[in-house]
């Protein structure tokens, strides 16, 4: 720990403000500006996890979102802990606690590492092959796998943080604030485009920001100095909004994009308090400029996964930006010029650079010459064939490559090192482009997929578009932006640019070793532990499609989605199968580009805001009277009103009995209500209901059944004719919105000639339903002037009347079979009318009842509930409701379907009643019905749809649908349950008051 790995001249790290943090329980120190990864490296900690399959030690490899190994769990609080975060993206703050995730029991002693010794036995798809059979063994394997697989821990308590969503509209969105993004944003804003520039880092500038190399200069300054001045000028631009710490998560069609802004993750615990943690921006951009840069590729060679093996550009960033030496004797291994940038930076900061191993023939680009001038040793046309060191690399073995690059020759050189930088070239970040539906093209000279065609108004600029040299980046960006925005921007013309040009390119997807392939471990997907050998095995086993190979080997399927090594997988497949990479295509990149927390996705829609809650005008009364509620769609409906310690059954039995013995009161406000007006209103009802409506007298009510065009029952309810051309339709509570939509659809598209207007008035009225033999007496106390005689106000009729000078509509209709009234009054008066009825009913022991009792009472009468006794496969004939189908009407919705060959089948399931042999036995709703018990397999003839113990009949009753049920009346059937078989008899659906005497009681 005495090693000083921090250099003092970093411009980006504030070395005066020390920060303490904990990693794996140990207190460590870093500085403001560090990421967790840079602080760990400064503390000489490379080992941060274990690999998924072999549990090999793995270290920090990268410095951005492509990091495959440094996946950590942040926080230990049961409500705030977050798994699967990348140490390379976590900004250090005072009090940060993080732990390695991919290891158990600890990062230094790992039980799963035993797998490593058995690795010849763990080929591709090992998990699929081993755990496929026998199926019940999975239970045994699962425990062990889950425990050792290191998938992170979910929080166990609700997330306390606040998340937010906002919309944003802009003319131009620029994604990525590197050099090309800054040029694009400045040009757009200066030309009066309302512009938004976002970047996922905490500072703009990309990699150019810390490029201080003689080989890359603009107008005689380092490219970094030039860019810093450009960034300064952005501040004065009025049309430009800049959001840092904001990463683009998804790019959807029509330039609709989702970006996650991180607001407090970098703050210490006290500063975070009561602030919004993350905000999801829903962006609609007229134009999108993608400038997301490129990421460095690793190289695929034997044992390329040891801690201390890192991407060379990351090593460069750690030294140039964070001032952290990733090692003290560093070797580099490359197939291109980028590693030389790292070599020069390291050398200038006083780190010993052993050598650069370069697979190419000697090349003399500007930067290579500079490295040679500094005395950096280069092994040309050579390859690293092996590495050593268990928890950290300690040496590499170097051999010469054969002329064709397929083998290594000559003698082996061993080189001691404590860090190895690798560079396999660059992969443009085309993820967002492909997410948006863009098609890629392949460029052979440097093996890259580039943006090609897109349907959207967008372009890609900079290295994500395949421009890797500084002068190309600048000149091509200017050209593209000018064309894209149709502007003539001169700011970036005539710049004097010095840029080292790569002369020599060479690529070998899988580097040869002196050992046979089967004895080597060239890792491709570091997180999922798949090697080049696995890919080859998959191909040998007959997999051809890239999507299949990916799934079989799990390459590219971990939380990093194979950002690093997807290209190598493709390259090896193409090479082995003898196809061109361009023809092979690439796998699909799916959103999000980096994982989002659930909190960000749901935003404010948590707790009571999760969904809309609809309450009736009488809701508070129900709460005060201790009602239990049930959710019916978005409505809260009173379910039952327990007294003292009653359970639901006891309460429902009491309520049901009271309603029939004396009086009950029900809140029916949630029923859907549609106001129908117009000169064709009667004709319209004729077409949407199965029965006839033209002759319904004004002031009368009628029950209607609505079908779908396929003849199946859709909804039902009572409709009242208020005047000649004015009806009030009621629907089921859950069906209200859909019924309105359906009626509107027919009116607008099939029958536009009808003069009919529909208005939803569900929320406008509250509905108090009073029922029972004393309901008439109660109503007469409230509305003494109203003549309630059967002659003046018979069943199925309505009156306009007044309660305390407030207009209301009273319907005499019944869903319980009792004499009952429904008072519809403007919602704001409904609670007081309810209370009035309750007061007036007290002398008759009026009993409030909820939905459960309502269901029981209607079941006694055999009334269906659409959606409970029907399920979209029942015709009115199946329900034995033939009486409601008009024979005279020429047409109505669903009529033709009632005599299709399928709907006239006799053996359709039909609604019947069921009585249990033991009257105390209550059937389970959903239970299956069979006709015999000793045959196997036995045919399921139907199922129970509604079942209750009726206190009024003192026996169990049920409704059920049974094949050919109509003809089975009186027959014995069986309901087999887990521990017993219940004997039942098929009956009529009406259990109580078949003659409907109670309606006029």
């Amino acid at each position: 720990m005495s090693k000083n790995l921090r250099i003092t001249n970093s411009k980006f790290i504030d070395q005066t403000s020390r920060i303490s943090f904990k990693f794996d329980g140990k207190t460590l120190y870093g500085f403001k500006g560090d990421t967790l990864a840079s602080a760990l490296l400064a503390n000489d900690i490379h080992l941060v996890g274990r690999s998924f399959k072999y549990h090999r030690p793995r270290g920090i490899m990268a410095c951005g979102p492509e990091e495959p190994n440094a996946i950590v769990q942040v926080g230990s609080d049961a409500s705030m802990t977050e798994p699967n975060t990348r140490a390379t993206e976590i900004e250090l703050y005072e009090g940060l606690e993080a732990s390695s995730q991919n290891c158990w029991p600890s990062v230094n002693f790992d039980i799963g590492a035993v797998n490593n010794f058995f690795s010849p036995l763990i080929p591709a798809a090992f998990y699929y092959k081993t755990f496929m059979w026998p199926a019940n063994f999975w239970k045994l394997y699962e425990y062990f796998i889950r425990k050792s697989a290191g998938l992170g821990k979910s929080p166990t308590e609700p997330d306390k943080d606040i998340y937010d969503h906002r919309y944003l509209h802009c003319d131009v969105l620029v994604v990525g604030g590197g050099i090309s993004g800054i040029m694009a944003a400045k040009t757009a804003a200066k030309n009066n485009f309302n512009t938004l520039l976002i970047d996922d880092k905490n500072i703009l500038g990309g990699t150019t920001l810390f490029q201080e190399n003689e080989c890359f200069k603009i107008n005689n300054s380092y490219s970094s100095e030039w860019l810093k001045k450009e960034i300064e000028t952005l501040k004065s631009l009025k049309n430009l909004t800049i959001k840092i710490r904001t990463s683009l998560a998804a790019y959807h069609n029509y330039n609709y994009l989702l970006a996650r802004e991180n607001l407090t993750d970098h703050l210490n615990i006290n500063e975070k308090k009561d602030k919004i943690r993350q905000r999801l921006w829903k962006i609609r951009a007229k134009k999108v400029i993608i400038s997301t840069g490129a990421m460095e590729r690793p190289l695929i060679f034997n044992n390329n996964d040891r801690p201390g093996i890192m991407l060379s550009s990351s090593i460069k960033k750690y030294i140039d930006y964070y001032g952290v030496k990733c090692g003290q004797r560093i070797s580099l291994f490359t197939n291109n010029d980028s590693a030389y940038e790292a070599a020069i930076s390291l050398n200038n900061s006083g780190v010993i650079v052993n050598s650069v191993v370069d697979i190419r023939d000697k090349t003399n680009s500007l930067i290579v010459k500079q490295a040679e001038m500094l005395g950096i040793k280069i092994h040309w046309k050579s390859s690293v064939v092996n590495t050593s060191g268990y928890k950290k690399i300690n040496s590499i073995e170097i051999m010469k490559l054969s002329d064709d690059g397929t083998a290594v020759v000559g003698k082996k050189i061993k080189e001691k090192c404590d860090c190895l930088g690798i560079s396999g070239g660059w992969t443009p970040r085309v993820h967002l482009f492909t997410q948006s539906g863009g098609k890629l093209k392949f460029r052979d000279k440097d093996n890259v997929f580039l943006p090609n065609k897109s349907e959207l108004d967008q372009i890609s600029v900079g290295s994500c578009n395949g421009d890797f040299e500084l002068d190309e980046v600048i000149n091509n960006t200017v050209d593209s932006i000018n064309k894209f925005l149709k502007v003539n921007n001169n700011d970036y013309e005539n710049l004097e640019i010095i840029s080292s040009k790569e002369i020599n390119k060479k690529n070998i997807w899988l580097l040869p070793s002196d050992k046979p392939l089967g004895k080597t471990k060239p890792f491709l997907d570091f997180q999922n532990d798949s090697t080049a050998n696995d890919i080859k095995l998959a191909l040998r086993e007959g997999f051809k499609s890239i999507e299949h190979v990916k799934r079989y080997t799990t390459t590219g399927m971990a939380t990093d989605q194979g950002k690093l090594s997807n290209m190598h997988a493709l390259g090896i497949i193409a090479e082995t199968a003898g196809v061109k990479m361009g023809e092979l295509g690439t796998t699909t990149f799916r959103p999000p580009y980096t994982p989002l927390t659930f909190g960000t996705i749901v935003g404010r829609n948590v707790g009571e805001f999760f969904d809309i809650i609809r309450k009736t005008p009488m809701h508070d009364w129900h709460v005060e009277n201790k009602a239990e509620f049930e959710n019916v769609g978005q409505w809260k409906r009173a379910w039952y009103y327990p007294i003292n310690n009653e359970n639901m059954h006891e309460a429902v039995q009491r309520e049901s009995k009271a309603a029939r013995d004396s009086a009950g009161i029900l809140d029916a406000s949630t029923l859907g209500k549609i106001d129908i007006q117009g000169s064709d209103a009667s004709e319209f009802l004729n077409r949407v209901y199965t029965n006839a409506w033209s002759k319904l007298e004004i002031g009368k009510c009628r029950y209607g059944l609505m079908l779908n065009e396929d003849g199946m029952v859709y909804d039902d309810g009572v409709t009242t004719r208020l005047s000649e051309n004015h009806y009030l339709m009621t629907t089921t509570t859950g069906g209200a919105a859909n019924v309105l939509s359906k009626l509107e659809d027919y009116l607008q598209t099939e029958w536009p000639e009808l003069d009919v207007y529909l208005t939803s008035v569900t929320d406008h009225y509250g509905t108090v339903s009073i029922c029972g033999p004393n309901s008439k007496k109660i109503l007469s106390k409230i509305i003494p002037d109203l003549d309630l005689s059967d002659k003046e106000f018979p069943h199925m009729s309505f009156k306009n009347t007044l309660i305390d000078n407030t207009k209301c509509r009273v319907m005499r209709i019944s869903f319980t079979g009792e004499h009952s009234y429904e008072i519809n009054i403007q919602a704001s008066y409904a609670k007081s009318v309810w209370e009035k009825c309750y007061e007036a009913g007290k002398e008759f022991n009026i009993t409030p009842y909820g939905t459960e009792t309502m269901h029981l009472l209607r079941a006694e009468k055999g009334f269906i509930i659409a959606g409970q006794d029907t399920d979209g496969t029942m015709t009115p004939v199946d329900l034995q409701m033939d009486w409601i189908i008009s024979k005279k009407k020429y047409d109505f919705i669903g009529k033709r379907s009632l005599y299709r060959s399928d709907t006239i089948r006799e053996d359709r399931k039909q609604l019947v009643g069921l009585l249990t042999e033991d009257p105390k036995e209550v059937l389970e709703e959903g239970a299956q019905i069979v006709s015999e018990t000793n045959k196997q397999p036995i045919e399921m003839l139907g199922h129970v749809t509604s079942s209750y113990f009726s206190p009024n009949l003192n026996k169990s009753i049920a409704l059920a649908v049974i094949k050919n049920g109509k003809k089975l009346k009186g027959q014995k059937m069986f309901v087999p349950m887990k521990n017993k078989t219940i004997n039942v008899t098929v009956t009529d659906t009406v259990f109580l008051d078949k003659e409907n005497k109670r309606l006029n009681a």
Binding site: Y254, S741, D745
Partner: protein
């Protein structure tokens, strides 16, 4: 998420709309005179094309009007929008 140009309200987010299946399927005027097969053709048969398709859409959370849309289902490009009862502006 698409942007849809409601013929009554103008351009709005897709989340305000709902799709209503294939367009230009006219409900038979005399269903009772159709054979089972003919009725089934109206009732069940839909093309579900990958490519340019004529569809019904409803501005559910807006003006609640139905209208027609010509959309390429392979890339969600909207080629035309026109009112109910109007002829498609393109073939």
């Amino acid at each position: 998420m698409f942007l849809i140009n409601c013929p009554y309200c103008g351009q709005r987010d897709q989340s305000e709309f709902s799709a209503g299946g294939e367009a230009h399927i006219v409900r038979p005027k005399q269903p009772t005179e159709l054979s089972d097969d003919q009725w089934a053709e109206y009732l069940f048969m839909r093309k579900n094309i990958k490519g340019v398709q004529f569809e019904r859409w409803n501005h559910t959370h807006g003006c609640r009007k139905w209208f027609n849309m010509v959309r390429d289902t392979s890339n969600d490009k909207i080629h035309a929008i026109y009112k109910m009862g109007e002829k498609p502006p393109i073939k």
